[in-house]
């Protein structure tokens, strides 16, 4: 009785706040929880007439089919390689940029470089890919103009599968290095100034102070972001890969998300591709948990 009263009082007290929450909660319910409920079709043969819950149950058929399919190894390999490369190259650069920006002696110059490096972030993925296609064109592209100016032969970058990964990584770097450095700059601003003063009195050089004060100061930020990157390992951004894909680079550019889109939505194999999505999420989750565990053991920093 007492408990029910508390519940009713709570509701009555907060009802206006609940009204404010309605649009957000309704949206999440329809566009996030309903699809989440729908992933059960990964274990069924989805039939639009029967819906999510009434389609015949088939167990792990779709998973088995995916694992035995000829694309399985290629898809996993392409997805992982692209992501490992991204992690290896695109993840550390913003940290270096932030460390360098933090050392800039002239405040106006620092602001200018910040503004310049943030700017590419505001360009859309489609435009970025359009720029890539134009810049790398073997006949009119600026990159080949440079190559020819130095006596090289023009290269058909988009027509060779070997160039797909470098193009993907380098353009990612151009677009987001500046932007990603913001969070490290914020963390650097939070390091204790008294540490620097003490180090200066002890005769530490600027480089030593970066190494022993600044980097340890942002280490927890780096680790948290790294763990989160691992959690996204298998779910590569669909847009850019799809846009840069063509028949010539397909052997290395077909990743799980693009395959799911093409086979699932364009090919209407809903159950099969939902199973791939689920498979993917399970691996992501496992990776996240493993890396989180390792990190909490080794560095005492973890997400949860």
């Amino acid at each position: 009785m007492q408990k029910q009263n508390k519940f009713l009082r709570g509701i009555r007290h907060s009802w206006q706040l609940y009204v404010l929450l309605i649009p957000a909660l309704a949206y999440l319910l329809i566009f996030h929880y309903a699809p989440l409920y729908g992933i059960q079709i990964a274990f069924r043969d989805y039939n639009p007439g029967l819906g999510f819950t009434k389609s015949p149950f088939v167990g792990l058929k779709h998973f088995a089919y995916f694992m035995r399919s000829p694309q399985f190894v290629t898809l996993i390999r392409n997805t992982i390689i692209l992501n490992v490369l991204r992690l290896a190259f695109c993840f550390p650069i913003p940290i270096f940029l932030a460390l360098a920006l933090n050392e800039a002696s002239n405040a106006r110059f620092q602001k200018l470089v910040q503004n310049l490096t943030y700017a590419p972030h505001f360009i859309s993925t489609v435009v970025l890919c359009g720029m890539i296609v134009s810049f790398t064109s073997p006949t009119t592209g600026i990159i080949n103009t440079f190559i020819q100016a130095f006596g090289g032969k023009p290269i058909d970058f988009m027509g060779q599968e070997g160039w797909f990964r470098p193009i993907y990584i380098l353009s990612d770097m151009w677009k987001d290095t500046g932007w990603s450095s913001i969070i490290y700059l914020a963390a650097l601003a939070g390091t204790d100034p008294s540490l620097h003063e003490a180090a200066q009195i002890d005769g530490a050089s600027r480089f030593q102070r970066i190494l022993y004060i600044n980097i340890p100061g942002i280490a927890s930020t780096i680790i948290i972001l790294l763990i989160m990157e691992f959690g996204k390992m298998m779910s590569l951004g669909f847009e850019k890969v799809y846009l840069l894909q063509n028949s010539l680079n397909l052997p290395v550019s077909e990743v799980i998300s693009t395959y799911v889109y093409k086979t699932g939505l364009l090919g209407a194999k809903f159950s099969y591709t939902t199973a791939i999505d689920v498979f993917n999420s399970v691996i992501n989750c496992t990776l996240l948990l493993i890396v989180n565990k390792i990190s909490s053991k080794v560095s005492e920093t973890s997400l949860f």
Binding site: L21, S105, G130
Partner: protein, 295 residues
């Protein structure tokens, strides 16, 4: 100061400045090149004579773009989706963010969990597509506005801002004066939330303007497509811009203009964001900071 220390200090600053200078130039160069190429003589662009500054002058590329029916349609659609979508996104986010910032909200922990859960677990594109189809949202003029109504990340930024920088005493005082929660939200919280409103407008606005994935999946009607879809056809898939015949005289001229026109198109499509960006940059940065305090 000791002379040796002074010299190493100078050297260190020099190296830092050179590194930063290179980073800045690398970021800037492609942008300058695109603008230069868009106003250069097409022959110079095609033969690789444009390297940094414009060679010759012509704005035929821009003229051709303005005459293309689909580009103007896409531009208009994108403007509509961006303005209407952002207005609705920001309203819903502010409302939810405020409710969650109130420590006396009954069931606050549960509701927060309900929201945060979706940041980690999602149904994937296939089942989302099936749900959207089921509720009749496929290929409607409001599809892109309703999809992505709120981003939970932004709700959390809003919540952190409101609970962090608006004193609770103010709300208490207003309540004692007889204000309802709605009134506190409308008359007290909103006027004090201008910085976070700016951040939300920018995040959502940029997202709408640049988004193409949802349009690719959920829109079929060409008249409803946003600019990014047409950009993909022209810039990435190299489809010829559909123009009225009087814009460019001959096939040869059309072929010659292709590159210049693409660069013009990139400028036109990115201009709104690149123009407002320098003025609003500090708000974006502030958003990242608020978001990073409590992730």
């Amino acid at each position: 100061m000791n002379k040796k220390v002074y010299r190493s200090e100078k050297l260190f600053n020099g190296i830092v400045n050179v590194i930063l200078g290179i980073c800045g130039l690398l970021a800037l160069y492609p942008l300058i090149f695109v603008v230069s190429a868009s106003i250069s003589d097409p022959t110079a662009v095609n033969s690789g004579k444009v390297v940094l500054w414009p060679v010759g002058f012509n704005i035929k590329g821009y003229k051709a773009i303005l005459k293309s029916k689909w580009i103007t349609t896409g531009y208009r659609n994108s403007l509509f989706y961006t303005v209407a979508g952002t207005a609705i996104n920001v309203s819903a986010t502010l409302m939810a963010g405020y409710a969650l910032s109130r420590k006396d909200l009954y069931g606050r922990k549960l509701i927060t969990l309900f929201m945060m859960f979706t940041m980690w677990f999602s149904g994937g594109i296939i089942t989302t597509y099936l749900v959207v189809n089921k509720i009749g949202l496929y290929n409607k003029w409001y599809t892109l506005i309703v999809m992505g109504l709120i981003s939970v990340y932004n709700v959390i930024i809003t919540r952190s801002f409101m609970s962090g920088s608006i004193p609770l005493e103010l709300q208490e005082a207003a309540r004692i004066d007889g204000c309802s929660d709605f009134q506190i939200f409308g008359r007290l919280i909103l006027p004090l939330s201008k910085p976070v409103i700016a951040i939300l407008c920018l995040y959502y606005g940029l997202g709408h303007w640049n988004s193409y994935f949802n349009a690719l999946i959920y829109l079929k009607d060409k008249n409803l497509q946003p600019l990014q879809i047409f950009l993909r056809e022209i810039l990435v898939q190299n489809e010829a811009v559909n123009m009225s015949s009087d814009a460019l005289d001959t096939m040869i001229e059309r072929a010659m203009m292709a590159q210049t026109m693409k660069y013009s198109l990139i400028v036109v499509a990115s201009l709104p964001m690149l123009i407002i960006y320098p003025f609003l940059q500090k708000f974006f940065v502030k958003g990242v900071m608020i978001g990073s305090v409590k992730g």
